[in-house]
Amino acid sequence: MPREAEPSLNERQFILQALQENLRLDGREFDQYRPLELTFGDQYGVADVTLGKTRVLAKASAEVTVPYVDRPLDGIFNIATELSPMASPAFEVGRPTETEVLISRLLEKTVRRSGALDTESLCLVAGQKVWSVRVDVHVLSHDGNLIDAACFAVVSALRHFRKPDTSMESGILTVYTPAEREPVALSWLHSPFCVTWSYFGDEGEIALLDATWREEQVRAGSCTISLNRHGEICQIAKLGGTPVEAVTLLQCTNTALTKVQEFSAFLDRKLAEDIKRRDKGGLMAELSAENDR
């Protein structure tokens, strides 16, 4: 199994030393994110998120399947995360690393278990036909803070996604193509976002947001907090690492809330822009079709 390249002693020492003097390698503030960018694809449900050099692409898709026997009224919702060697040579296909397992668990807890998507609305015929919504997360480039970027991508993709419209008439289920009927958005309840803190120093006294890959390798511990803009915690995961004062954690949570509110506003703006862009296209297309006749 290929191993991740380890940072040298000099780098380790310097990063820590610089942090003690309130310096980050890329000149950011401790609680400053790298520039976050989001682009939607031409298709519905494709979100491409870049955070500095980290780039994550998420694609949502839906198909009609049979529900699980024990949950006949619920649709199926899955998030598939696979870290391919594309992101870093340390990742291998088919053998999930610890990082991969943790990321997929975190996404699952943040988005799925917190009930962001109303799975009951995905049910078509109880016990027989439901929508199965699936989000595939592809990490295209890994430069730290995969979790936040991946979570943002998943939520964006799902918010952007439109599933085909259906109708139910005398027991016959019809799924319409986009040409027949405009696809419909998912029934979305709230938008959770992850904010990951990295802790440095013996006592975990230095806390950073949005650590780069280099910083992640040197950190002593981390804590991922998932919130939505209403101030509801969806999940907190500080899985071991250097112990941190409880008070610090509370402060981190509060800072995270403001970040989440920023994310939320940013996503809303982007979605609105996208709708505007599409609207124009739709109208133009219609007009030109009429002219043809």
Partner: protein
């Protein structure tokens, strides 16, 4: 000098007029070129063809990709582990380690060799680069027995840059030929720092003040990523200095 560097692709035919001719010296082919007997020369990588008439040599300059050790290159390596009489040194991640004998440091003997922990950085010269063997390094000049600037790097920070920038930085006249001026600019602004540039795309920056190191590092990486020209580099340095104060 840096004017006419035609772009070549692997397998392209090279215009015979570009091949330098010299009466005495034999033609020397640098990296990226292959000689197919009897008299064809083919590029094997995409890049700019550079010829040097004085030395009667030619090579292809290309940026990026993996560093392939070649003899005489100066590199910054990271000690992976120590064996009985040599260190295993990583030059690039995910490749076989190079070996650096314990005794090839300045003034090193069995008793006075430097003790390097795994993870320590060394500035070394490639003495053996062979397709079938792991590369070998040295930190002392075999002829003079002096370090000549090579050896363990203490403190400071290593930054990753592209191979092209590293090569340009290493040029004897990096400003004229390579078009890199950041380091000079930064020095002119009164910053005190030292650097070591490895051909493997790593630049080590040392200074008493971490602030300076961060600044130099940012200047270098930004120059590299945005492919800044000399003029823009000046602006960047000014901007960074202002930010710092």
């Amino acid at each position: 000098m840096a004017t006419e560097h035609p772009l070549v692709l692997p397998g392209d035919t090279i215009d015979p007029s570009l091949i330098p001719t010299h009466k005495k010296q034999p033609l020397r082919l640098g990296p990226g070129l292959r000689h197919v007997p009897p008299s064809t020369i083919l590029p094997t990588v995409a890049g700019q063809l550079v010829t040097d008439l004085r030395k009667n040599s030619m090579w292809v300059e290309y940026n990026g990709g993996r560093y392939i050790p070649s003899q005489g290159d100066l590199v910054i390596g990271q000690v992976a582990r120590s064996a009985t009489d040599l260190y295993f040194v990583t030059i690039t991640p995910y490749t076989a380690n190079a070996s650096l004998p314990h005794l090839s440091f300045e003034g090193a003997s069995k008793k006075t060799r430097p003790q390097l922990l795994p993870g320590a950085l060394v500035y070394a010269r490639v003495t053996l680069a062979n397709r079938h063997m792991d590369p070998e390094l040295e930190c002392v000049s075999a002829t003079t027995g002096k370090a000549e600037g090579l050896g363990p790097l203490a403190g400071g920070m290593a930054f990753d840059v592209s191979l092209g920038l590293a090569r340009r930085l290493l040029m004897a006249r990096s400003r004229e030929e390579g078009g890199v001026e950041v380091l000079e600019q930064l020095g002119a602004e009164g910053l005190a720092f030292e650097t070591a540039v490895g051909r493997n795309g790593r630049v080590w920056v040392g200074s008493d003040s971490p602030k300076t190191v961060v600044l130099v590092g940012r200047a270098l990486t930004e120059t590299d990523e945005k492919a800044l020209g000399v003029e823009q580099q000046r602006k960047l340095v000014k901007k960074l200095i202002r930010e710092m104060r």
